[in-house]
Amino acid sequence: MKEQLTNVEKLEALWQGKLSPKGPDGNPLPFQSPEAEKAYKERILRVKDAIEMNKLPDRVPVTVFPGMFPWLNAGMTMQEAMYDYGKCAEVFKNFVLEYEPDLHWGAYAPGSGKMYEILGYKLYSWPGHGVAPEYSYQANEGEYMLPDEYDALIQDISGYFTHVYLPRVFGALSGFPMLPFLPGILEIYGLPLFFIPFGLPPVQATYQALFEAGAEALKWVVPIGGADVALATVGFPTVLGGFTKAPFDVIGDTLRGTRGIMLDIHRRPKKLLEAMDALVPLMISMGIANAKQTGNPVIFIPLHKGADGFISDEQFKKFYWPTLKEVMLGLIEGGCIPFPAAEGYWNTRLEVIQDIPKGKTLWMIDQSDMDKVKKTVGKNACLFGNVPSTMLNLGTPQDVRAYVKSLIDTAGKDGGLIIGNGAFFDQAKPENVQALVDAAKEYGTYK
């Protein structure tokens, strides 16, 4: 019981921090007007109440969590958005001011094209580097971890990443495999031997690239992080603290790849399970550290290869859900709000994933049947969604308004709903995005 209180207190401290925000200088955030301050606090409480499911908020909160829509809609190419950080931030601020959602999610999506160049990033193609300037970056899936490397990963995840995985996905980190085994630094005898690698040109070139990448990341974060602060002063909060991943997706997305992990389910199931177990504490501490650093409690978890159709329900129960659940419980324990996004269809998984503590999580729902979701996962969790990308792109404002209204009737009557898009979208009609926000405000008031 005492432990339980501690978690609640940790989270409450984060919320209270959000409600009395501080600027980058550590002083109280200077709101531009008393109205802005009032709107900011109302928005936070609206979202907090929806997630906690203890009492009804004043109305259903609404947000838009887009992919690259803000930049493409403003007439920028994705290439510009990834290389002109100031313009990227400006355009994002205008997007929030124009549509006025209760919550925004920051201008972090485009990232720094220049930094990826410096590092020789191979895991993704981005505008000008394998993708046309107008399109968004896309992953190059591959077998970046080989089947016989499970033991190395399980034994020392950090060591495996440093010496093996990172040099494979970042060309500029090719000096890392030469690095010494640092936990071997114990006594004076032989100590210089450990430091020889740092004198070698490939290692020095790698560190040089890291310094440059760090400098570029700082150039990027000043305007991008600044957008969060600027938007807060005029009343628009973010609650996104960072992200973590389901252990199955860590291995299936970027280490072994889809083909690799699917084969491993049959060929080396024990190793796969062991590796996922080993990843759990890391994925928890990654989320908690992010929340502490940003002061924002919500930790995003994009879910990929557990969707309907990828694996059977039995495989889902054995390979996907147990470690994801552990990560979610660990985040809750650490005072965070896990925010998994069930991309695609999850209709056959709902009975299993409803087994979570009430009022502690936020689920982004894409194309699953919202009525079924409400009766299962929605009993314990606040739902976020699920206006379809196709409708935002190809439908009419009338379609969107009708969809939002029916969503509130289906899933929002007794709270526990945030209206938003179901999946990340790049292209959409601006009037449809506006209709999403307006309809939620119009139909979503609780009496």
């Binding site: 992919g67 968004s136 084969l263 049959h266 060929r267 159709g309 059977s312 196709t390 292209q427």
Partner: protein, 209 residues
């Protein structure tokens, strides 16, 4: 022995399947008999996938077993025999999109179901589809796309096929993450598949299998 090989493949016993292949060949079974067993096994795997009993792990492992068994048999055959095919399907991920998991599954399932498949890969410009239709003469064209940008690429591809005067010669299906009836209408395709199984059904229906 043939039956045992079929069972081993269907039940995902990879080591047994490979061992039995070698044993069959060593005991003088004709390579074509082994191939025929594989074909039957793959047919069962495909049916189980369509019935929702098997998923990607089983499809991918079945594919792996096929590749390994083919590699064992190939040196013993003057040429791989042509299979009788129901019809031809041209498939690819549309321009701007480099996602291929969904496309590869559909491609594999089409092959298992007896269609001759030409796979153009990812980020395929409309003109490349047009040229491939002229060369390959498929009855069905399958366009894949995961991102919202693919809606326009699909529309452009269908338009390019129309402009080239080939629209009436092919049936066009679309599929991928967000694809639904709305996108089908927008792209002016003839049908869409919510998943791989739905796509295979469409191809069967159109080609008359």
């Amino acid at each position: 022995m043939s039956e045992e090989l079929i069972n081993a493949i269907v039940e995902m016993r990879e080591e047994d399947a490979l061992k039995m292949t070698t044993q069959m060949l060593d005991s003088g079974a004709p390579p074509l008999e082994v191939l025929e067993a594989c074909r039957k096994a793959l047919d069962v795997v495909g049916k189980r996938f369509e019935a929702g009993e098997y998923f990607l792990p089983e499809l991918m492992l079945a594919g792996e077993m096929m590749n390994q068994i083919s590699a064992i048999i190939k040196p013993k055959l003057a040429e791989m025999p042509d299979r009788e095919r129901h019809g031809k399907v041209l498939i690819g991920t549309v321009e701007g999109d480099i996602h291929d998991i969904g496309k590869n599954i559909v491609s594999f399932m089409l092959d298992v179901n007896g269609f001759e498949v030409q796979d153009l890969g990812v980020d395929v410009p409309p003109q490349k589809f047009v040229e491939a239709i002229q060369d390959f003469q498929p009855q069905v064209v399958a366009l894949s796309g995961f991102l919202t940008l693919s809606f326009d690429s699909m529309k452009n591809t269908v338009a390019a096929i129309e402009t080239a005067g080939l629209r009436k010669k092919v049936k066009i299906m679309i599929g991928g993450g967000q694809i639904n009836e709305e996108v089908k209408v927008y792209a002016d395709a003839d049908g869409y598949g919510k998943d791989a199984v739905a796509g295979i059904s469409l191809a069967k229906e159109w080609i008359g299998v």
